[in-house]
């Protein structure tokens, strides 16, 4: 039995996540308990880098401290690297069953890795020698797009978030048998567990919210904390709340039992994100109506009260936020300070955790190699370990000094990808590049992970919902809501123009095209044919393909669910849309709310019943028929 709790405020119709597969979980336990490196302290939250400590060196007293070991998940490869942090060198590489996203060391020293594109987690066991590859113990199937892991304080339960399946799954930490699964709003990412083990806090990439899941009760109910804030100088009572995005990371106060620690913070959870004003009016001269439309934010949450303490964020006086951390990807806490890695500016920033607005209480900043996706803190050694995915370097940062980090290159010449891919990825995430946008935003600002920000932007063409890129580009020309570009490169150039950018040179545009064309889409696990849900999906497919509804006449399954044509779907189109709007592909449509070019429908169900558009014929369908149609759309 896998109790599910649907979240009523979710932006999409909650679909039951695929039931976790426990049949393959046998043999996950340790074979040699106590052998090899052990977890460092009480680090129970995953990242792309995790820390452990090896046993004492041969001949040393048993009480002697061992070497600090870093496990690094290289998402470009199928390897997990073992690094001797003290010697600053790679000492082993373990071949995995898929590309790793994040890594967590369990209490008994086993290492769990999320294999994002493989819909699985892999459990590994260290041997006696730290410089030997780890032994694979088992691979466990998961809901689609497994990302972040956390262990409960009693180390009996392992939690996993799955982005595309919008689920939190609990596994038995010994056997890896699935215990239960909770349905969450879209795009869950980082997960942490309260110190008493009763609740899990989950970050969401979009929509400025955090889920709280009861772990102690049988129902495992999920609640939401609204993280939206206003800005200063708006006047009391008249504050309008801004939207949010880039909620990848999460961390919380941990005292580590050290009485010397300076701070006495308790029960604070920190959610790095970006506060967004996408515009109130449908049309604007740029994207969004405020300058800057995106501002760095770390929402501070009172864990006990389950309420955001941060109500107002500062808007920079300069009008640009380009130096800010606008693509935060991981976070860790240590002694009154937050450490956040920032893509786009390639930095590790140290923030004052005592502040209500930590993003604007920056203490120190270190430049790190490109693509910092993960950070782990060695509390004893006052070191931060940062994994920079794009440059394949692990950095060792002394957190008590401003000295530049020591760098350890990993993987040698094993890396996949071309120079075009590498340059394209850099450009996609590059903040403050005036050639791309006048306000310094990056492609990844609106397309986190190549997906979309769930926002509708005020643009010169009117209100426009951000489309998903990953898996939606092949065979879907022409591009843009007006279908104005047959080639992706041409569409990119026009996008830079709309954003006020000066434009990239041809080789750079080509590199960007190469990168976004290879963005991996999420892979939904196939639903067993015998289930009632499959029958519902089949019914929905018949409705979709019927002449009566007319869905398939434009959304052609043989052409990536588009027809490459423009259609008039508005009763009274504005002057610049008389020729109609391009038929968008319906690939992965279930995870891309809101819907319609102007984002007017929050859910697919809302779209199907709405009478104010001329898109297909679905208002006559019964409630059950619409549910079937939605079920089918969720499989595309």
């Amino acid at each position: 039995v896998f109790p599910l709790s649907a979240c009523a405020e979710s932006g999409r119709a909650p679909a039951p996540p695929a039931a976790p597969q426990s049949a393959k979980a046998s043999g996950c336990q340790r074979i040699h308990p106590g052998l090899g490196a052990q977890r460092l302290g009480a680090l129970r939250q995953s990242s792309s880098v995790a820390l452990a400590r090896s046993g004492p060196a041969a001949g040393a007293p048993s009480s002697a401290p061992g070497r600090l070991i870093a496990y690094v998940a290289d998402a470009d490869d199928t390897r997990l690297y073992t690094v001797d942090v003290d010697d600053r060198k790679e000492i082993a590489a373990t071949r995995l069953k898929g590309r790793p996203e994040q890594v967590l060391v369990l209490a008994d020293g086993r290492v769990v890795v999320s294999l994002r594109a493989s819909n699985a987690i892999e459990v590994l066991e260290p041997g006696e020698r730290a410089d030997a590859p780890l032994d694979s113990r088992c691979v466990v199937d998961t809901a689609a797009e497994p990302v972040a892991l956390a262990a409960t304080p009693d180390d009996e339960t392992l939690l996993l978030t799955s982005g595309w399946s919008h689920a939190l799954t609990a596994f038995d930490a010994q056997s890896l048998a699935a215990r239960y699964q909770v349905d969450l709003p879209r795009d869950p990412r980082a997960v942490i567990v309260s110190e008493d083990g009763t609740r899990a806090f989950v970050a969401h990439v979009v929509e400025a919210r955090m889920s709280v899941v009861d772990l102690g009760s049988q129902a495992h109910l999920a609640r939401l904390i609204d993280l939206r804030a206003g800005t200063n100088f708006e006047g009391q009572g008249a504050r309008s709340l801004r939207a949010g995005c880039q909620g990848f990371a999460l961390t919380q106060v941990a005292d580590n039992g050290d009485p010397r620690l300076a701070s006495r913070l308790v029960d604070r959870v920190f959610a790095p994100m970006v506060s967004v004003s996408s515009g109130d009016a449908p049309e604007s001269s740029g994207y969004g109506s405020e300058s800057p439309s995106e501002v760095s934010e770390v929402a501070v949450v009172d864990a006990s009260a389950e309420r955001a303490l941060t109500r107002a964020i500062r808007l920079p006086q300069s009008g640009t936020a380009a130096r800010e951390c606008l693509l935060p990807r991981s976070a860790s806490y240590d002694d009154g300070a937050l450490y956040v890695t920032c893509l786009g500016i390639d930095a590790l920033v140290k923030l004052d955790a005592r502040s209500l607005d930590p993003a604007h209480a920056e203490l120190t900043r270190w430049r790190v190699a490109s693509g910092p996706t993960g950070v782990a803190i060695d509390h004893d050694g006052r070191r931060a370990l940062v994994w920079s995915q794009f440059d394949h370097e692990l950095e060792v940062v002394a957190t008590s000094s401003q000295a530049p980090p020591a760098r350890v290159a990993l993987g040698g010449s094993q890396q996949d990808g071309t120079k075009g891919f590498a340059l394209g990825r850099q450009l996609f995430h590059q903040m403050g590049d005036r050639r791309i946008s006048s306000d310094g935003r990056a492609c990844a600002s609106c397309h986190p992970d190549g997906h979309e920000d769930a926002l509708t932007w005020s643009t010169p063409d009117g209100a426009r919902q951000t489309p998903m890129l990953a898996g939606r580009l092949a065979d879907t020309a022409p591009y843009g809501w007006l279908g104005a570009s047959n080639a992706l490169s041409d569409h990119l150039k026009k996008t830079f123009e709309r954003l006020g950018g000066e434009g990239l040179e041809e080789p750079e545009v080509n590199a960007l095209v190469e990168y976004i064309s290879t963005l991996a889409p999420p892979i939904e696990r196939a639903v067993p044919k015998t289930t009632a849900r499959q029958r519902l999906i089949d019914q929905g497919q018949r409705l979709f393909e019927s002449a009566e509804t007319g869905c398939a006449s434009c959304h052609d399954a043989g052409r990536a669910f588009t027809d490459g044509e423009r259609h008039q779907v508005l009763a009274q189109p504005p002057a610049n849309q008389v020729a109609g709007l391009d038929t968008p592909s319906l690939r992965f449509v279930s995870g891309t709310a809101p819907y319609f070019h102007d984002g007017r429908y929050k859910t697919l169900a809302e779209l199907l019943i709405a009478p104010d558009h001329a898109m297909g014929q679905s208002t006559h369908l019964s409630r059950d028929e619409r549910a079937a149609l939605v079920a089918y759309l969720e499989t595309l």
């Binding site: 200063n232 100088f233 708006e234 009391q236 701070s263 006495r264 913070l265 308790v266 029960d267 604070r268 501070v300 009172d302 864990a303 006990s304 009260a305 309420r307 303490l309 941060t310 109500r311 107002a312 500062r314 920079p316 006086q317 380009a322 130096r323 800010e324 500016i345 930095a347 004052d352 005592r354 502040s355 209500l356 607005d357 604007h360 209480a361 920056e362 203490l363 900043r365 270190w366 430049r367 190699a369 490109s370 401003q402 000295a403 530049p404 760098r407 120079k419 590498a422 340059l423 850099q426 450009l427 590059q430 903040m431 403050g432 590049d433 005036r434 050639r435 310094g440 080789p507 750079e508």
Partner: protein, 317 residues
């Protein structure tokens, strides 16, 4: 062009102590135009303040009109306040009927302000309001006029950095055109933030609130999650933030100067001669005061931060 940007990127990274590691990288060369911005935002000074070290002191509630039912005994006006008739204001009234009515009732419009320049705020409190502004107040004198409360707060900073807020409550007696002192309370404040040796932020607290005194500003944002903050703006700024568990309060302000100074004596005469050159505005300082307490925390944390870069220009720090 690209080479120049690459050189700039190298220089920036060297200045930041990060080493020019990306200089020979062809990808870095492509991306070099983005190096036009400096790497880090302007530095900040952040101070954590021990709330237990802040002196206790309670500001009395202001007088209310309901308390004015009994006439005050004294008929002596405060000597350090000056009352000046501003009859010409009625002549400026657009509605003739109103002007005539005031004239017929023999109404005098009076402005009350401190006799000497001082760091002060002077305002007429009214119930339910939480934001007051002024260094002088206007009221009307005529037969049968009611009593109105008046509050006058003056800040004195001693050379050793200690500060004292004198809170004087008075009745404005419109019938006799007097400002009659009722009570005076002295509250000691402690400096909690400095520029060099000069304090610019002071605090005092009681069981339920923390009160901050800072320089004058027109750009002030005050917020509290639990309770209502109270602000007074004169030639200094007073903000009282409520204390409470699972609460937070903040002050964000842009200050033209961190110097606490008395208001200039009002100059009403027009200057003759050539128009003076406009004086450039001094760089502003952005400051924030934040008070945070979760349900589980035994005491709130209090932090003060201010932008450093503009201070360096303004105060030679």
């Amino acid at each position: 062009m690209r080479g120049r940007w690459a050189l700039a990127a190298v220089l920036v990274s060297v200045l930041l102590g990060s080493g020019p590691t990306a200089a020979a990288d062809p990808i870095a060369d492509f991306l070099a135009p983005a190096a036009g911005l400096s790497f880090a935002p302007p530095p900040l000074a952040i101070v954590a303040v021990d709330l237990n070290a802040i002196p206790h002191g309670t500001l009395p509630p202001p007088l209310t009109e309901a308390e004015a039912s009994a006439r005050v005994a004294s008929q002596t006006s405060a000597r350090d306040l000056k009352l000046e008739k501003t009859q010409q204001r009625f002549a400026q009234l657009k509605k003739t009927a109103l002007r005539v009515r005031h004239t017929r009732l023999n109404v005098d419009a009076v402005e009350i302000s401190p006799s000497e320049p001082e760091i002060a705020a002077l305002y007429i409190p009214w119930q339910g309001a939480a934001d007051f502004q002024g260094e002088s107040a206007a009221f009307s004198c005529y037969k049968g006029a009611p009593l109105s409360p008046l509050r006058w707060e003056t800040l004195t900073v001693s050379p050793d950095g200690a500060a004292r807020l004198d809170v004087k409550d008075l009745w404005l007696d419109g019938e006799h055109c007097l400002a009659i002192p009722v009570s005076q309370t002295e509250v000691a404040f402690k400096a909690i933030a400095w520029v060099g040796a000069e304090p610019w932020l002071f605090a005092a607290r009681d069981e339920n609130t923390v009160t901050f005194l800072l320089p004058s500003t027109d750009s002030l944002s005050v917020d509290a999650l639990v309770g209502t903050p109270f602000t007074v703006r004169g030639s200094f700024t007073r903000v009282t933030l409520p204390l409470g568990r699972w609460g937070s309060g903040s002050i964000v302000a842009t200050l033209p100067s961190l110097e606490l100074k008395a208001a200039a004596v009002t100059a009403t005469k027009k200057q003759s001669g050539p128009r003076p050159e406009p004086v450039p505005l001094p760089p502003a300082v952005e400051v924030a005061v934040e008070l945070v307490q979760t349900m589980a925390e035994r005491t709130p944390t209090l932090t003060v931060r201010r932008s450093l870069a503009v201070i360096a220009d303004a105060a030679g720090e």
